[in-house]
Amino acid sequence: MSIDVLAAGEAARPPLLRVSGVTKRYGAAVALHPIDLEVREGSFTAILGPSGCGKSTLLRLIAGFAEPSTGKVEIAGRDVTRLGPENRPTNMVFQGYGLFPHMSVAENVGFGLSIARRPRREIDQRVTEALALVRLEEFATRRISALSGGQQQRVALARALIMRPLILLLDEPLAALDLKLRQAMQTELRRIHRETGGTFIFVTHDQSEAFSLADNLIVMNEGRIEQAGVPQDVYMRPKTLFVSQFVGDTNILPGIRRGDHVELALGARFSSPGRQGQTTFVLRPEALRLDAATPGDAGHGGTALHGTIDEMLLLGGEARITLSIGNGETLVARLSDPRDGEAFRTGMKVTVSWAEKALIEVGVAA
């Protein structure tokens, strides 16, 4: 009952951003196939994909730097498809920041408000607030060239946030920073998102960045949205082979379904009704369980196979083990506690098993 009420409430309130049927062509080249997308208010959305997948194009279409070839972009129920960037309730943090080198930090941050001809006092006050939000109060009078990369990033953030955009767009916001700074900035971004309560959409090719920031994940490939949803859900239940490979490591297991049973090329056989013929399953490395013993029984209701350890990588916090399973097939297992790995040696014979629900069918590989 309560679910019904919630659904009704959701329907009454349109999503903050709705992209419907949007395509983008450059001459004969198709950058975006028809894209449908909804982003609700207050979310932190990541558009994740390899370079050239169209994610930046999509962001630029939302910002107004490009016009879609077909389709519609709506923000807060208003059609903004034909509006330029200066007339949209969005602001962007650019990949190279695009700060104005001839202005001070405060002038950069106040630029949008001065263009909007706000009174001097209001500008000064809001600049102070925005700089406080990104923790750069001390730097107001500095020149841009006197700032580090991380500080410039914060100025770019403050300059966009001061406009109180309905949607803040970030194009690879952390790509130019080194690892330590990137992690610190991720924490900062989460805090700023929480404190402003705004709607953030960012583009990235780095899945760990997407997972650590976003509560809504959109995976793109070759101009299409492959899957959208809660990050954990996308990871656990990838809909396509691409998603399973791009989001985390995976074992790809081709198989054939005959009747109600599937037989994997690895040799495992299990009950699974569905479309007949060739199919593909994926299996996350951490779902594999290794046992040194040579048991005759499959034990816990899953599938068990025999294999030989080919290679062991101890990566500090985890162990990665490559196994060969007879007939030329290999599997990769990940043990999140490397101490579990100490029992194994290269060349050892082991039993590998997994729970059946860990197998995700992604259809026939293209």
């Binding site: 910002a63 190279g96 630029f111 263009i115 966009a160």
Partner: protein
């Protein structure tokens, strides 16, 4: 051995510098000499030749012509050259560089060829009278490519993201140009204008062909050489030299133009 080679090279370079700069230095020195001929011994120091110049109405006519030409030349070539460089840079197409090179063609042609073609163009084809506007047109032809080159080299290090950032923050195209592009380009533009001004000021061949009646500073000097070897020429040369060097120094400093 190495030392001897190094010394020989320094000597060659030194002599070459003397050979190239010597006449300039001599001209400057003799502009202060009381001798009527350029000869040693130098005679007394005097400012007579400068005084002669400044009481000569022909000199003023030539100077005012030169300024009336150089100022519009600097203005026009700066505007057109800047716009051209800006457009080529903003398109960022493969066409940009060839177009810029095409625009620069007049610099590569011998000035004599340009001068003659201009006269033919003005008189035969356009039916325009020779005179100041004709010289201005000719000078713009050769100064504009240099302006474009200076601006284009500045553009090469221009971050175009700032333009999108400005638009994103609500600025119109026009506001973006005035508040973001121009302030960053200002030094290069002023420098380019000074270079154009200096080039126009001492340009001779195009001026002599297209001025019709009257003189610019350089044709005035030429006229004087033809009649008498009057040392006031030295005075004019020294003035021109100082102006050109001064403007160029300021321009180089402003633009940080290298090459």
């Amino acid at each position: 051995m190495m030392r001897i080679v190094a010394f020989a090279w320094s000597l060659v370079m030194g002599l070459l510098s003397v050979f190239l700069l010597g006449p300039l230095v001599l001209v400057a020195i003799f502009s202060f000499s009381s001798n009527a001929l350029i000869s040693f011994p130098m005679g007394d120091l005097t400012l007579k030749w400068y005084r002669d110049l400044f009481v000569n109405p022909d000199f003023y006519a030539a100077l005012s012509n030169s300024l009336a030409i150089a100022l519009p030349v600097a203005l026009i070539s700066t505007v057109t050259g800047t716009l051209a460089a800006y457009a080529f840079a903003e398109w960022r197409t493969r066409l940009g560089l060839p177009l810029l090179a095409l625009l620069g063609l007049p610099v590569l042609l011998p000035p004599l060829v340009i001068a003659i073609s201009l006269v033919v163009l003005y008189v035969r084809w356009l039916g325009l009278p020779l005179g100041r506007p004709a010289v201005i047109g000719g000078h713009v032809l050769v100064t504009q490519p240099l302006v474009a080159a200076v601006i284009a080299s500045r553009m090469a290090s221009f971050d175009f993201t700032v333009l999108e950032a400005a638009r994103d923050l609500g600025a119109s195209r026009w506001q973006t140009f005035w508040k973001v592009t121009l302030p960053q380009m200002r030094a290069a533009i002023v420098g380019a204008a000074l270079i154009a001004f200096a080039l126009s000021l001492d340009e001779f061949i195009i001026a002599v062909f297209t001025i019709g009646g009257g003189n610019t500073i350089s044709t005035f000097v030429w006229g004087k050489i033809k009649t008498t070897l009057d040392p006031s020429i030295n005075a004019i040369a020294t003035i021109l030299l100082l102006m050109t060097i001064g403007l160029t120094l300021i321009a180089l400093r402003l633009t940080r133009y290298r090459g």
